[in-house]
């Protein structure tokens, strides 16, 4: 079993390398054909007073007029020697930007995912268990409604209620203005964004848990358990839930892109200094090295998400064969 799993992981990793390279090259080509002009980013508001001659000189100096394949070649040779290049939009080395911001995003996304998981499992199970009951109807209605609410609306409402109305939690930021980044400070500031991110991801998960649990109730082994006179909690939690959870684990893995999208919006509203904000900034600036690094990073996150999900399924269900 473990050898099979190891082979699965190795195979996936070997497969991931060409995928990542293709993504990087694809993003480069897309950015090259986009209408955005990086000179605007370099100049900022100064572009409005710059003369054409000076703009042309700067363009030549920065190598912006070079062909896209030339820029790609420069970047690839840099990456191979361990240099991710320099980000024009952050005016910092790409590696530094990622190192500064990625940990905050991982923290936010991990806590957000745990919140979503917990909410989905508890609410989904209770709703399926008492199908048609008051709780089920409320959860289903809210779930469907929430699918249509963008995370930033949720974020603004949460700020209005918990930060401004009740004054329980700070409005935004990583710490209070000027305060050092202590564990206590960050925890207090993490609560609202993580809750909002978690809650915004919950509807799909909750409805899925409920649906597959209802499906499991109709299966033979559950009927068998009921027939043997086992207590209802044992039937639901020990017999129905485990089988219902398998597709749920796979679903979680495929939710990673959604989670990234949610993180972009949540980070912006809460002034959370993570990597998701950098995605928007560098995309608008046609910041080749930054976009490529971020795209590779996001692709790696998605591949890793589905790999972890598959491994988890293979471990949990002996019937699944880890053959790719």
């Amino acid at each position: 079993m473990s050898r099979e799993l190891g082979a699965l992981v190795l195979r996936r990793l070997a497969f991931a390398v060409p995928v990542l390279v293709i993504v990087a090259i694809g993003v480069f080509l897309l950015a090259a054909s986009s209408p955005f002009d990086p000179i605007y980013q370099y100049y900022g508001v100064d572009v409005f007073t710059a003369t054409d001659a000076d703009l042309a000189a700067t363009r030549a100096r920065l190598g912006l007029d070079d062909g896209v394949f030339q820029q790609l070649g420069r970047w690839l040779s840099g990456v191979l020697s361990g240099d991710l290049g320099s980000s024009r939009s952050f005016r910092q080395p790409v590696g530094e930007v990622i190192a500064e911001r990625l940990p905050w995003t991982i923290l936010l996304v991990t806590v957000g995912l745990l919140v979503a998981l917990l909410l989905a499992l508890v609410a989904g199970t209770v709703a399926a268990w008492r199908q048609g009951g008051m709780f089920d109807r409320v959860v289903t209605a809210i779930g469907h409604a929430m699918e249509g609410i963008p995370p930033f609306v949720l974020a603004l409402v949460a700020i209005a209620v918990f930060a401004l109305g009740l004054r329980w939690l700070p409005v935004a930021g990583l710490t209070d203005a000027g305060a050092p980044a202590t564990v206590g400070q960050i925890t207090r500031h993490l609560v609202l964004p993580a809750l909002v991110l978690g809650v915004s991801q919950t509807p799909w998960l909750v409805l899925h848990v409920r649906g597959s649990l209802l499906g499991a109730f109709a299966e033979d082994h559950v009927a068998g358990a009921r027939a043997r006179g086992l207590s209802e909690p044992v039937v639901v939690l020990r017999h129905a839930l485990p089988t219902a959870l398998l597709p749920f684990v796979t679903l979680l893995g495929t939710r990673v892109p959604e989670l990234v999208t949610g993180a972009v919006l949540v980070e912006t509203v809460f002034s959370w200094p993570g990597i998701a904000e950098a995605v928007v900034t560098s995309a608008l600036a046609v910041d080749f090295p930054m976009i490529a690094a971020l795209a590779v990073l996001a692709t790696a996150a998605v591949l890793l998400g589905s790999l972890l999900a598959d491994v988890a399924v293979a471990v949990a269900d002996p019937r699944v064969r880890a053959d790719g």
Binding site: P35, F36, D37, Y40, Y42, Y43, G44, V45, D46, V47, F48, T49, A50, T51, D52, A53, D54, L55, A57, T58, R61, L62, S86, R88, S89, F90, R91, Q92, V97, E100, R101, L156, I159, A160, A163, L164, R167, P170, V171, A172, G173, L174, D176, A177, G178, T268, V269, F270, S271, P273, E277, A278
Partner: protein, 492 residues
């Protein structure tokens, strides 16, 4: 002191536009402007004087000034800063503002000499650029690649304590500042892009001050914060392309200037926070503003001008002349709600006199190639000298050159007076020339200037030393009430 800002600088390098207009807390220029917009020497020992040839300026430097890293400031630093600025190898983004500088030389350790390509009366106003240590610009590489942008070393009243990108910047008082140690020992600027988030965090008491749109700022009336409105030289204007058969017509241009209700726009869109604009010179620059160059709101006059020029109303209310309908496209930056509001108001006022305007919200990349043919909502402005913004905006030598004179406005009378103003040695002759080009412009306008926008700030009432100033077209908290924060004192 904790301030919130919606705008985070990408770099603190003066060569990339940080604090070009002065009031940067980290750097000093050779000169700076005070609250009355008068030049004061800073790193210069006294105001530089112009040689009789009107081209060379000798600048004596202040002695005993040190950079934050302890090194001594001298002529080499000034020369290195300006040479790097002018050298394309450094890819400075503000080089175009300094086209009149031909050379800069060191005379001795305490004196530098600038030579200009032509007499330039506004020259001293350009010397607000922050001076960097010579070592920081020793290698000719693009300024953006230099680590100096995140680890700046200046001579200013504050040094950079810590910059957590995307979050906050801590400025620490430079106790060795030659102008005396600032009493406000630490300033933290927190970056929060969203206006509403900033307002919410302010109302929870987290900040000592911030900048907000006028309407949002007004909601803090009667709170613990004082609302401060600063007049500005920050104009919004409609460009009228010369090459377009409708917007290039002198009668249409003049009529549109009479057709817009400037005060009405300011009252309706900006809660009255602003001043009507007819030329790029705001009335707060009392010494230069020409009252005879102001347009009144007179719809009947606009209709009369159009009728007289042969633009006659058709059945659908739109005017036409010789088969050409009075119709053109107005572009605006789609992300800028203020420009969108102005564009819509302009369209409805133009419609009222029978000129049909089609709106298009676009990105700057899409706008740029079309600026010569389609109208555009443009902004800018400097309160310090009438030459700095107006010359590139109106002079025909800048026609179609980048965003400077995008609609190719060409008026020989304006050109002559602009040149006369730039080259004037005598201040009174200069004022006369500045007023002359305003009158020449108003007789044959090529833009419809709409308004100068006020900037609104909120400040907690806990410090003394605030002095109102006129803001340039700049972002954030470097200007505004905090332009002289180094002179503020906490209240006991």
């Amino acid at each position: 002191m904790v301030l919130a800002d919606g705008f985070e600088p990408e770099s603190l390098h003066p060569l990339l536009g940080y604090g070009t207009e002065g009031a940067s807390k980290i750097f000093d220029g050779l000169v700076a402007h005070d609250a009355q917009r008068t030049l004061q020497p800073v790193l210069a020992a006294k105001l530089p004087e112009r040689a009789p040839d009107a081209l060379t300026w000798t600048v004596p430097l202040r002695a005993g000034v040190t950079f934050h890293d302890g090194s001594t400031f001298d002529a080499d630093d000034v020369v290195a800063t300006y040479r790097a600025l002018l050298d394309p190898a450094y890819a400075s983004s503000i080089r175009s503002d300094f086209t009149t500088i031909a050379r800069v030389e060191k005379i001795d350790a305490q004196t530098v000499r600038f030579t200009t390509t032509r007499p330039d009366a506004a020259f001293l106003h350009r010397l607000t650029l922050g001076i960097v240590p010579a070592e920081s610009v020793a290698t000719p590489a693009p300024a953006a690649d230099s680590p100096f942008g995140t680890a700046p070393v200046g001579t200013g009243p504050y040094r950079l304590g810590e910059w957590r990108k995307g979050r906050s910047m801590r400025l620490v008082a430079n106790d060795g500042y030659f102008g005396g140690a600032p009493a406000v020992k630490e300033i933290t600027v927190v970056f929060a892009v969203d206006d509403n988030t900033r307002a919410q965090r302010l109302s929870s008491g987290e900040f000592d001050g911030t900048v907000l749109p006028p309407a949002l700022a007004a909601t803090f009336q009667g709170s613990e914060y004082t609302v401060l409105d600063h007049p500005s030289a920050d104009y919004r204007t409609i460009t009228l392309p010369t090459a377009h058969p409708v917007t290039g017509d002198p009668a249409v241009r003049l009529a549109l200037n009479f057709a817009v209700d400037r005060q009405g726009m300011i009252d309706a869109l900006f809660a009255g926070k602003g001043a009507p604009a007819s030329t790029p010179i705001p009335e707060v620059l009392t010494e230069y503003a020409e009252p005879a160059a102001q347009f009144r709101f007179d719809r009947a006059e606009a209709e009369r001008i159009l009728d007289a020029a042969g633009w006659l109303r058709g059945p659908d209310g739109t005017r036409a002349r010789g088969g050409v309908p009075a119709r053109f496209t107005l572009m605006y930056a789609a992300t800028d709600s203020i420009r969108r509001d102005f564009a819509q108001a302009f369209t409805s006022d133009a419609r009222a006199v029978g000129v049909d305007v089609a709106l298009e919200g676009l990105g700057w990349e899409a706008i740029e190639p079309r600026m010569g043919a389609d109208a555009l909502v443009l902004g800018g402005g400097s309160p310090f000298d009438p030459d700095i913004v107006s010359y590139p905006l109106l002079h025909s030598s800048y026609a179609g050159d980048g965003f400077n004179n995008p609609a190719s406005y060409v008026n020989p009378a304006v050109d002559a007076a602009l040149d006369k103003a730039r080259e004037a040695v005598d201040p009174a002759a200069r004022v006369a020339a500045v007023k002359e080009w305003q009158r020449a412009y108003a007789a044959a306008p090529g833009f419809v200037f709409l308004a100068f926008l006020d900037h609104s700030y909120l400040v907690r009432d806990r410090w003394d030393g605030y002095q109102q100033a006129v803001d340039p077209h700049s972002h954030g908290t470097t200007w505004g009430p905090w332009w002289n924060v180094e002179d503020w004192t906490p209240r006991p």
